[in-house]
Symmetry: D2
Subunit: 367 residues, 4 copies
């Protein structure tokens, strides 16, 4: 029961897939920041389901409403509460699942731990609860953008189809050009075809999402137990369906020697840079001014249209289930928005902890 994240920019999320509402309370947002519902809506729309054939057909408008924390068009230093009401619920689809945990879904652990489990659409374990992350992330992103920090995620892999390396400057534009959100346009076509073909067969597929961050200052992160890479790993692993996080060269670095892996320094203008970026922008647990590059492994959506073996927890016997409901055949495209949100919250929090952003925008106050 830990639904708050962040040390200074603290985001508490609440709500479940089929409950009345999903939302977030953001405490610690600097005051005097212009903020309106549209700032959040624009990000929610990116993760919204039902927008194309790659996503679930649960059609939710996901309109956000700000209940507190904004006065006269600007934040006022008090907690910002924003909520989205659940509208399009098909709760009857889930009745038969009671006490029969779906394989590789959270049902089993939720029931085991909490007893009273809201099994409709996965309850609080549903991907739908990441609406809370996106609300917090949208605000974080807006503030970061004031400091010229850009956070962008794209799909690097779907199944065994891997995207080619694309220049950092082009990733955003290219990946916006297709529904897969992949910056390698040729790969994107293959990925889309693969996803649709698996969808037809009631199957699903995993992938890899990469998050790129440009413009973060040197020194974010607090060794030894609040390191930037540690907090990033936590934030991204906390996203449902993520099974791995790697930074810079990641697991490939295991194969390298020191001579191959070391990032040598050089001076460029008044800045210190590294000629390679195997470190992915983080050394010693702190940002070194180079782009921060993070990749996450996403598992295939566990809801598939095939008979699966499970157990009846009431009768304690083996049974089979045939999962109904509406699901994404590949969740990677929509995870991009959630990953950007989660990473943005981490970065903003460290900006505030490190004094890179004045609390309450004291400077702005006098304008």
């Amino acid at each position: 029961m830990t639904n708050t994240t962040g040390e200074i920019f603290k985001v508490t999320t609440f709500g479940s897939s089929h409950g009345k509402a999903i939302g977030a309370v953001i405490d610690g947002c600097p005051a005097n920041l212009e903020l309106c519902e549209e700032d959040i809506q624009i990000e929610l729309d990116k993760r919204r389901p039902g927008v194309n054939e790659l996503t679930t057909n649960r059609n939710e408008s996901d309109k956000v409403e700000i209940l507190s924390g904004v006065f006269d068009g600007k934040t006022d230093g008090t907690p910002i509460t924003a909520i989205v009401f659940n509208k399009n619920k098909s709760s009857k689809d889930y009745e038969y699942l009671k006490n029969k945990p779906r394989p590789s879904h959270g049902d089993f652990t939720w029931i085991s731990k909490y007893g009273n489990y809201d099994y409709y659409g996965g309850g609080r374990g549903s991907g739908r609860t990441t609406i809370g992350n996106v609300i917090g992330g949208a605000i974080a992103k807006k503030i970061l953008s004031n400091y010229n920090i850009k956070v962008f995620a794209h799909v690097r892999q779907v199944g065994d189809i891997k995207a080619k390396e694309v220049d950092l400057d082009l990733i955003e534009e290219y990946s916006k050009s297709n529904n897969v959100r992949c910056a390698d346009i040729n790969a994107a076509k293959l990925m889309e075809k693969r996803i649709l073909s698996l969808k037809e067969n009631g199957n699903s597929v995993g992938g890899v999402v990469e998050v790129v961050t440009i413009g973060i200052p040197i020194g974010l992160g607090e060794p030894v137990f609040g390191k930037l890479d540690g907090e990033i790993a936590k934030a991204l692993m906390n996203i449902g369906s993520v099974k791995g996080v790697e930074i810079g060269s990641g697991f490939k670095i295991a194969e390298l020697t020191g001579r191959e892996a070391n990032d040598e320094f050089y001076i460029e203008g008044s800045n210190v840079k590294t000629s390679t970026n195997n470190s992915g922008g983080i050394i010693g647990g702190m940002s070194n001014g180079m782009p921060v590059i993070v990749r996450i492994a996403i598992k295939p959506t566990p809801s598939i249209g095939v008979l699966q073996r499970t157990v009846d927890l009431e009768d304690m016997k083996d049974v089979e289930i045939d999962i109904k409901g509406r699901h994404d055949p590949c969740i990677c495209p929509r995870v991009t928005t959630v990953a950007e949100s989660s990473l943005s919250m981490v970065l903003l929090d460290f900006m505030l902890r490190g004094g890179f952003i004045p609390p309450n925008n004291l400077n702005d106050k006098n304008k």
Copy 2:
């Protein structure tokens, strides 16, 4: 500046490579636990340097002393402080490094962030500060073992040499048989040869360490921001030199379909198990009772015996450095102990948070 980890079992570490002492304060350890210095020493000896030709030849006995928190041979609920004095320092080896950050070491970010930087042996950024983790981990491990929870790490990969899958029950025994701490004995020989050959050339190499946990109960972890996998990812990524963390099938799961990746349930006796373990023992952010399997990518030791390009931060010009000092050619074997420690602290903390261990061992109190 975040040197405390854990919510209930809180471990604060302090000290630097060449300072007076390194140590840890453990607050929140249940009372009435038998504890002596030897319980900690046994783990410190596993990470101790200078014990064989695979490690640095800095020879430190690393004798631990308990200063508080133990009364009459048992913990008493007050903070446990344990320290190790630094003895074998070669501080003169580091004088020349002042203002010249070593590539892929933390020097650059530490100097940039904090200004006043203890550059001797990497200061607080040194791997030597993981002595604090091992102190905390040794106590955690001892308590976990009372609950039949076993945490064991071994080397899965060195450079491109990968160990074969070894039966869970045999990993500990086999990996103890060689200095590489690899459970695949044939691979271990190749790894040792590779490390020694690179060492001769002043080079180093990365690898992969796997941590296996057996016996943890169902339900550890607190969604949505305190998930078990999130906290594990953070704890392990916080270990210096780690660039990736994966759980269960990890990055390989990206290539799978839902049919391949899903872990189906079945009843065995009075337990619910899964027939495969692609989830690595964690679903929905909580343990499901299956073994927890985590792998981390370790970068090659960045201290190598070759001229490297860096910058002089005082004169702001490009320079070259030739790193002296004493270093491990492959840090993986010693990382196993640190990884076990860090994971043990996370697990114990969740056991206490979840009420699996009564605070203050109330049960034991009446014995």
Copy 3:
């Protein structure tokens, strides 16, 4: 910007006097607890304004709505969100106050710190935001009552009128018999008369509220920085208008000698008790099983119907203001409910931290 309180039973409150809504998110409430809106409403009704001539005539029904965290009539371990919409706002009453801080109100410090200040009705600094405390407190109180712990507050003093000592068992009944909520019925009459007379003159008056707790187990509190008395002092001092907190004999103990002040022990049945209770139920920062007795000093409502000197913060000049709006002439009676709520949250949090209540009511889960 710290709007969360508690370590395990974490309550985050939000909202301002004239904003859309006021509410709370409760994270860490054990699962499987029966909970409905009426459980919260009953407490909100006690602090509701406009109910008699001793209170402000702002008439708010303060109907609560639960948005999340309750499934099938019981808590499910996920965050509970409950809100109250603001209905009866007279915002125009406050327009003239912009940049003119009311004496002894928070206006001045809020403007100074946050710049953008919601001056309508005191914004987030309004006593109305204690609706959040009462929501959290209502849930805490319900759980505590399952453990036979009773928390009750009454008015001990209004101006210089002091209530007589009343037997612990009778306080609740007697104090419910009058609008002042004073257990000494004669004093209550005098207090009521005093308050109404001051109200007529546009004046207000302070007082003392006492909170009594019966039935708490031995050992709540965590020395040396999380003591029970420390957390109680914080929780109660955090209530607006409180200027002092004392426990047991409080400030009177300063006048006593050790012989007079010491609480001697004796055996009663299988329990250890003290023959006096100068300690107010807490020694060494932990509960000792005796009733916990806490008193708080409440300042007179600072909104009074008389010209007062203040400053114009825009023009930086001395000015006078005549405060309009609707206010309680003595806030003590309504503070009783808030004080009970705040104390209940502290006690429940320690019950959970100390393992006195099983997380997720594991015991109940199997019923």
Copy 4:
């Protein structure tokens, strides 16, 4: 088990009265601050026992040693560890107390909660553990003094002898002139006589200590659950023997009307001030720029030289005890140093949280 205090300036203390050592780890201290052992020693000497006939005759030199966190004479952003070894122990004085809790001491609650209790000199419950507070406070005080913030405590009352109001500017000088640390020199003589007379009779006496803070900026404090007055109340109530905390007019404000109690504003130069200070420098939970005035009620030392009734917890029967050991007849003079320390830590923490002090003294870094 909460031995850490502070959000950014985090102080963890450890150690017991008769254990090996007592100390503190300070995490979050800005880097680049000049710091040496003498800076801490000067404060420890103020609380040191055995210095005059008003204090216990346990003679401890209390020499502090810094183990980490200072490099080249300045803090370096890593945790500062400082310890004091216990030297002059008379542990045999306490053997007879095992299982016989001393009235109004923490023995009973410590035994009840933790089982294994270090009963020598009160173990961790001893006033001696406030050495940790003083270590943290000495560092906090030094930093605050760089910002012209002064924290000073003096004795206002001993038994029923009350000191006259003394001008803020003279308090420090006058109270340093006598062993009671009372700024009213005539009262100090009476107090000293009273204390010595009670000491002769094996008795003790309580009192009131006032802490005055000058120079703190407007806006320290974070409503609604991290208010300045809330944190002060907690920090001071956490000091052993404190039974009440009041701010500004404190409990006296209960007797006042709004007209009497309100602090009206006026302009002085470019500052906003209040013509009275019933608020004690805090309104709305934030500092308003006026002096912060706090008073605490101190109970009489519970160790007295007279037969007292208690219980034998092993045999569960009523017994009598005659307390030996060495004790202060009135702890107020020595509490002044501890109160200054605790308050300084709170103030520094809020200075850092509010951005009033740049993290890592970034400004100084470039000097």
